[in-house]
């Protein structure tokens, strides 16, 4: 096996993990605040479409990413209004958000189907990108890949080491206690959900502008749901989200390159791998009820009424 092939496998893994990292880290923040948003898939699709549409119309992918973050944040705001202010069931509302996102993006995306777009460029970092082996391995990604690492560092730091992060976790563990201590439960949850939305949007944007630079109806193909599974797999810890996403990226890339590796299995069966892998890792993590009990935010999925 040539070193070029191994490098291609490695970089492919990182690239296909990137949208999962954004979406799963965003969802992790929302869930740590106690809100389960099953609308990730819908928000990713809206983000993918917004980035593509704005990217094509303005010629600026940066504006596209901004539009993706804003559009998906608005979707999340809608979800927040329903679940936090109107206290609707989080599971049902999240499903509604996904179905709405699927419908809206399919409808609004019609004119953009089949259009070409110039995808996100790999960065050329002077000197570093030209080092043999290490250069292509680490220093030739696009900006969004490095951005995903920065976001991880930021979230890990803020959640674990700052006052704001502690407040957010308190709201997720026990909103009643946080409220009694004068913490703004609703505001914290709104902000966490909207942050999650923006991240899902950027994850979606990466799909339509970098991984496969085009708009296809339903192009997220379950990645939003895989991101939700990753948060459970990671037992709500940011570093494990990162590792889990690379694991999934690896499965996806190995499946795509299996023919090249001399594995003769029909492509449909290979395409099942990421979904089957999701089920398998969920079983491994959830097998012991204590793992979930100890790590899951205690109020996850439950509405909070200050007057009750």
């Amino acid at each position: 096996m040539s070193s070029e092939f191994l490098i291609a496998i490695f970089t492919g893994t990182v690239v296909s993990a990137t949208p999962l990292i954004y979406a799963a880290l965003g969802e992790l923040v929302a869930e740590r605040a106690g809100v389960l948003n099953l609308g990730v898939e819908g928000m990713m699709l809206i983000g993918a479409l917004a980035a593509f549409a704005v990217g094509v119309s303005t010629g600026s992918l940066w504006l596209g990413y901004l539009a993706a973050a804003i559009a998906s944040m608005l979707m999340a705001l809608l979800f927040g209004f329903l679940t936090i202010t109107l206290q609707t069931n989080q599971v049902a509302t999240g499903l509604a958000l996904t179905l709405f996102g699927l419908g809206l993006s399919a409808f609004a995306g019609r004119p953009f189907t089949g259009m070409p777009i110039e995808g996100l460029h790999a960065l050329r970092i002077p000197f570093c990108s030209d080092i043999p082996i290490v250069g292509p391995l680490l220093f030739r990604f696009d900006a969004a890949v490095y951005g995903s690492i920065l976001i991880y560092l930021l979230i890990d730091r803020v959640l674990g080491r700052t006052r704001a992060g502690l407040q957010l976790r308190a709201v997720g563990e026990s909103p009643a206690v946080a409220h009694a201590l004068g913490q703004p439960v609703a505001r914290t949850r709104y902000l966490a959900v909207m942050f999650g939305g923006a991240m899902s949007g950027i994850g979606g944007a990466y799909l339509s502008t970098a991984m496969t630079p085009m708009w296809v109806e339903g192009m997220s193909a379950g990645r939003g749901w895989i991101a939700l599974a990753l948060v459970v797999f990671a037992t709500w810890k940011p570093l494990r989200v990162l590792l889990g996403a690379y694991l999934f990226g690896g499965v996806t890339i190995l499946q795509l390159n299996a023919q090249g590796l001399g594995v003769h299995v029909p492509s449909e069966i290979l395409s099942m791998l990421p979904y089957a892998a999701t089920i398998i890792v969920l079983v491994i993590i959830c097998r012991d009820p204590k793992t979930i009990l100890l790590n899951q935010p205690a109020s996850l999925g439950k509405s909070f009424h200050p007057d009750a």
Binding site: L86, Q87, T88, V91, L99, G103, P266, E268, C286
Partner: protein, 361 residues
Amino acid sequence: MREWPWRLERRASPSGVMRIAAPLLAAFAMLATGLLVFAFLGKDPLNALQVFFVKPLDSAYGVGELLLKATPLALCGLGLALGFRANVWNIGAEGQLTLGAICGGGVALFCSAALGKFAIPVILLAGILGGAAWAAIPALLRTRFNTSEILVSLMLVYIAQLLLSFLLHGAWRDPEGFNFPQSKAFDDALILPVLIEGQRATLAFVLMLVLAVASWVFSSRLFAGFRMLVSGQAPAAAAYAGFSEPRNVWLALLLSGGAAGLAGVCEVIGPIGRLQTDISPGYGFAAIIVAFVGRLHPVGIVLAALLMSLLYLGGESVQLELQLPAAVTGLFQGLLLFYLLAADLFVRFRIAHVPRAVAVA
């Protein structure tokens, strides 16, 4: 500071009237939004609305189509609602529907000759068992390994669709089908009879109505249904009464999986007449909306399925007549569920008028 003289006030008990009125309110909000969307797209909104909601039904054939598309929606919705009431979130009806089509279609392709006149019942049974078996996976994983049935049932949708595609690109492909990924057409004797000559609605519609009655009996007259309801509404009470949670999970998933499987097999030995890669325009997902809009009640679900079916027909109608994308259907479906969830606010709350003087004091 000036106070808004209207306030949301918690009702002493949930309003029964609003529970029924909320879906109607949501449907009207959806219509109003539809007007805006059509106007925004540069069409005469009233005309577009007429083309979307009235035109599809102006012939007997159109009404038949309405019943045809409502059948799988109601079948899936009836099953899902049993689970939703028990807090079991099967959202993979689309996958169970696909497995039902694969199993029933497989029997139709390979064993029908040996079965003689029992072929159709056996094919239907194979579809039900296929859907139930696919739903048994999330049931097993939730009861045995504590794994979320939401994520597992959804992942299985993708796997089921890939499985169907695998079969149709390989072993089950029609050798004379010009390499299209589809099986050969089923024998005429295996196709479900239509209800009225010249229309496409089949016997499956009647089966669906029978199942709707059965599901009403199950959930409101049988103890097993009561146990599921208590587990959903008051898990602590259910545990105290000794109701077995695993049993409810199994029951909810097997029943909803079987119903979705039946929906799938009725599509392939009904209007489609063969196995092909696209057997459902998202019926299994739309059925989630059907279940909620129908208030998880069999009568409501049948009505909601008719409405949802009309949304599919309307999408085709505006595409044909006004050159608008048929995807407007998905938009309306999503909006309907959102509006319903928002309208549900009024089940628990009401708007009360607060005189300003009192508000200040």
